[in-house]
Symmetry: C2
Subunit: 248 residues, 2 copies
């Protein structure tokens, strides 16, 4: 048995998220179907570092899986890449220790969130950035976003009804800039873990702050109160990218 770690990218538009579920097209199912063919018809289960929701994209999702024999990793990558559907790409594969686990090995993640601000929007990017038709003041968002840095209880920024008990997470990078070329807002968040819909809720709140409909202090208010009702709306998934995962 040989364990492989793969970095994959995918366009989330036509997927009901990463994780396998009945009656829905998922990234996991498509890769497992391809691995089945490459493994002489024997089923292979893949494990992802994290789940991504419907419409959410990835440039650097990490998965692991086992095959009975050690293979040339570049041939394996090429075969898997070319046989997977067009909206999934296999960026890199390497052999790892048998006890490596994409989800349970300690890692930090970076997410990016793209926002197409104002009108007219860019039709080519309608599945790849969230459209926000209202004007925003970048400096207000930059002032607010730094309050997310550090270790906090992020209960107020997660979806209500989440089953995870410990909602304390550490954010090591939180910034927002305007891309010179596209004029899009680019939010970047890195940390040791993110709660369900946390990034989308943080972005939804920051956009409201940028638009002047919430005070800059609202980020602190949500963190301190742990009250989801005080945060902004959940930004749509189509602007979200799982950018990179770094293992310790």
């Amino acid at each position: 048995m040989t364990r492989y770690k793969a970095i994959i990218s995918y366009d989330g538009t036509d997927f009901s998220g990463f994780q396998r579920q009945p009656q829905a097209r998922t990234v996991q199912e498509e890769i497992e179907k391809t691995l089945l063919r490459l493994n002489s018809g024997h089923p292979v289960t893949i494990h992802g570092a994290g789940r991504t929701d419907a419409g959410v994209h990835a440039y650097g999702q990490v998965i692991h899986f086992d095959l009975p024999q050690e293979r040339d990793v570049e041939k394996l990558r090429f075969g898997l890449d070319t046989q997977c559907p067009d909206d999934i790409d296999i960026v890199a594969i390497e052999v790892v220790e048998d006890d490596f686990h994409a989800r349970y090995n300690k890692h930090s993640k970076t997410y990016e969130f793209l926002v197409d601000v104002g009108r007219p929007k860019n039709p080519m990017m309608r599945h790849y950035a969230t459209h926000y038709p209202y004007p925003v003041d970048l400096s207000l968002m930059q002032e607010a976003i730094v309050n997310l840095l550090g270790t906090h209880d992020f209960t107020g920024f997660t979806a209500s009804g989440t089953s995870v008990e410990n909602k304390v997470r550490t954010i090591t990078e939180a910034r927002v800039e305007r891309d010179d070329k596209t004029d899009f807002l680019v939010f970047t968040f890195s940390g040791n873990g993110f709660l369900y819909k946390q990034v989308r809720n943080m972005v939804g709140t920051l956009l409201k702050i940028g638009n002047g409909r919430m005070p800059v202090s609202q980020v602190k208010t949500v963190l301190e109160s742990c009250n989801r009702d005080l945060a902004g709306p959940t930004a749509a998934g189509n602007g979200l990218y799982l950018k990179e995962i770094r293992y310790e």
Copy 2:
């Protein structure tokens, strides 16, 4: 009667091209359907500066159309923009002279062509750039592309069976660069008019030159021989963008 000129952008992925045709979704049909609603149910015909093929995108297509009354152009733009399908955007509208014609008024066009070179490709860009899996030498293409500048008979670079008689056109800008951020090849062509599939055939030939399977001199050979068989294959439409149209 008031004549309006509009700059529009669209994602060509789900269109069978710009021009209305039976049993197919086209840009023209969708805009005319929207204008019908905005014009109290009276049909409005739009005229485009040029036709784009299936899958081809536009940032700066120009159309003109007439409405019985003069309207506030920003309100008209907003109404048309928000009521058109998501893959069409109305960038700008202005009132023009009654004899302005998007197609027949003298103008020059700029096309851009994006190529995602090598593997793995970017799945997010699979409808927005043409994937070329082979290595290319940028400098060979840059050496060849300058031969397209100037006034030539472009018969060798158009689709066979084109009905246009005069195939002499002038290209004023022809360059190819590598985008630092995306690592994509960006071809730019400007000129007073382009023949059917001309840009895609020029790009297909240049890629073969970049890949070393045609000599740098092939561009000259195709121009001088007017022989389509000597040019490279037609590059796929999904990398092509009608970028800008400038009227004199």
